[in-house]
């Protein structure tokens, strides 16, 4: 298993108010964190992904939008190793070829994935969910005698604060509200100190208040890791991308356009295939 690679940012340094200003750190064009080239996935006769290219820079928050069946989730499946593409390349960081790794290895290499439906360990208390997600020893024979270290305890506490879940730390995760589960799942991903965080429709099914809390949480994570957010809710996308953030539009398995939200809204092809409907 590969080590998690170079960690350029420290977890927790991005306190909620650190990046409130509209000019968040501009992506460094010399450092790509995720690189997809010519990825094609075919299910039976249908091309779920057709020659997709995507470039995510370190520290970037990229929103991906597109109608149902555009291949957004399939793209996440490819990055995280759930689906193997017919052709193409997927590179993490400088030169780590993700196509050669399986799901647990990709996760250990620093790709965190949030599912569309919040998926947490419902029977475990909230703090145990976080503890399980902590990057410690993952091999089964080491787990037999594992004790809770003070480092783990501190990290769990830190994440509970960050996600606002401290009051429910000892509750079974299954008893949490939908929004709390979403935040818990993101908290679990943060425990792994990911380099890239993939969020699949994080605001789906949430109340306005919950969406707002989530946007704040995502905002506070900007300095921590790069993020790719797949989303339907255009208000939420506008909130995340701001004026300068790049937005990728997908349709029918292709990348249609990339640009700021304003540029995209004016783009003819996008209007034809998505927004105009």
């Amino acid at each position: 298993m590969k080590p998690a690679g170079i960690q350029t940012t420290t977890f927790g340094s991005g306190a909620p108010d650190a990046d409130k200003s509209p000019d968040f750190p501009t992506p460094d064009p010399h450092r790509t964190i995720l690189y997809l080239e010519g990825v094609t996935v075919t299910f039976d006769a249908i091309k779920a992904l057709n020659n997709v290219n995507l470039l995510i820079y370190e520290g970037e928050l990229r929103c991906v939008i597109g109608p149902n069946g555009a291949g957004k989730t399939t793209m996440m499946d490819v990055i995280t190793g759930k689906t193997k593409p017919d052709s193409g390349r997927v590179i993490l960081g400088k030169d780590l070829d993700l196509l050669r790794l399986d799901e647990p290895m990709i996760a250990s290499a620093g790709v965190g994935r949030k599912f569309q439906k919040p998926t947490v360990f419902e029977r475990h208390p909230v703090w145990e969910n976080l503890e399980l997600a902590m990057t410690t020893e993952r091999r089964w024979y080491r787990c037999l005698h594992a004790k809770l270290t003070s480092e783990t305890r501190d990290r769990v506490e830190e994440t509970l604060h960050l996600t606002g879940l401290m009051p429910v730390a000892f509750r079974a995760a299954g008893q949490l509200s939908h929004g709390e589960k979403q935040r818990l799942e993101i908290g679990m991903l943060l425990m792994q100190r990911p380099r890239v965080l993939l969020l699949d429709e994080p605001a789906a099914g949430m109340s306005d208040r919950e969406t707002e809390q989530l946007a704040e949480l995502i905002e506070s994570l900007r300095s921590t890791c790069s993020m790719v957010v797949v989303e339907h809710d255009m208000d939420f996308v506008a909130q995340l991308a701001g004026e300068r953030g790049q937005v990728t539009v997908m349709a029918e398995g292709r990348v249609l356009v990339e640009g700021t939200l304003d540029q995209i809204k004016k783009d003819e092809t996008v209007i034809a295939s998505y927004l105009g409907r």
Binding site: T119, H124, W127, R138, L148, L189
Partner: protein, 373 residues
Amino acid sequence: MSVAVSEAPVTFHLPVRQRLFGRREWIAFWAVVGFVLAATPICALATPASSPFYLSTYALTLVGKIMCYALVALSLDLVWGFCGVLSLGHGLFFALGGYAMGMYLMRSIGLDGVYHSPLPDFMVFLDWKALPWFWQGTEHFLYTLLLIVLVPGVVAWIFGYFTFRSRVKGVYLSIITQAMTFAAMLLFYRNETGFGGNNGFTDFKRILGFPIAAPGTRVCLFLLTFLVLAGSFLLCRFLVKSRLGRVVTAIRDAESRLMFLGYNPLGYKLFVWTLSAVLCGIAGALYVPQVGIINPSEMSPTNSIEMAIWVAVGGRGTLLGPIVGAFLVNGAKSFLTASFAEYWLFFLGAIFVIVPIYLPQGVIGLFKPPRTK
């Protein structure tokens, strides 16, 4: 560990490691162990047969047999209740352990068999002149102990490796386990396989030189079974309370989430699965000298399904529940088959209907306070 939810705790207290039991549970555990260890020899050996406290050989054998079943239920709960792998083939591991012990017991008969031959009777009957290679060494008890652990363990490991690696799950896995035990049963029914065909092994005379039917030997076997059951219970409790146990229950509840957190479930599943099979094999090995017979019907799919019923009745995912369930179902079975033989299957059918509807958490769920939301 209970913290008021309404107010955020000022300091964050987490246990370094979870305790196996609370104080009262430990006292109850040792009280039961002490009582059984002291009372069984007295009631079985030193009490006159007329006394109401007398423990007959029949009762010893019956309870000893049910304790073996309880160990099976415990081991099945470990994989089903905690890892979410419903095995309908644990009868195979039980029988393999039983056959390993049976081989030793057959060899211990020596020249006292019907044909007064050093070979087991069924081999003489088949006109075999020498022991097959896999019977070599089975006269040694220590080697037999090794076989009891290794044979079910290796079979389970190989089976588990290929199924878990291919990510076979749920009903499909259950059906494959069922097919596995059925295939093994057909294999063991054949005389050429070398395990006595459909008659299996029986007519045992002695174990480690002691006459197998003597009350003293019976008491020893009974207590040994009890100690193994109690020890396995502690072992399983330790496992599910460890970090490994937390990971394994997480596999049960959301395997893909765990995989995308960087865990490879294969090792965890294989460990729990193999351990469960080994415990099951040990149960079979303790069962055979007490019941006095092992044959391929132990591998029949219905037996394995009944094992799952014991777990479901007692309450899966509780460890104690399946032990209780094994006693309840088998106690009822011996009572009903003795008194109203024709009603047993109706009773079994009624359990099938009643337990999932009214007792989804099993009998043990009745004694737990309902979960507060």
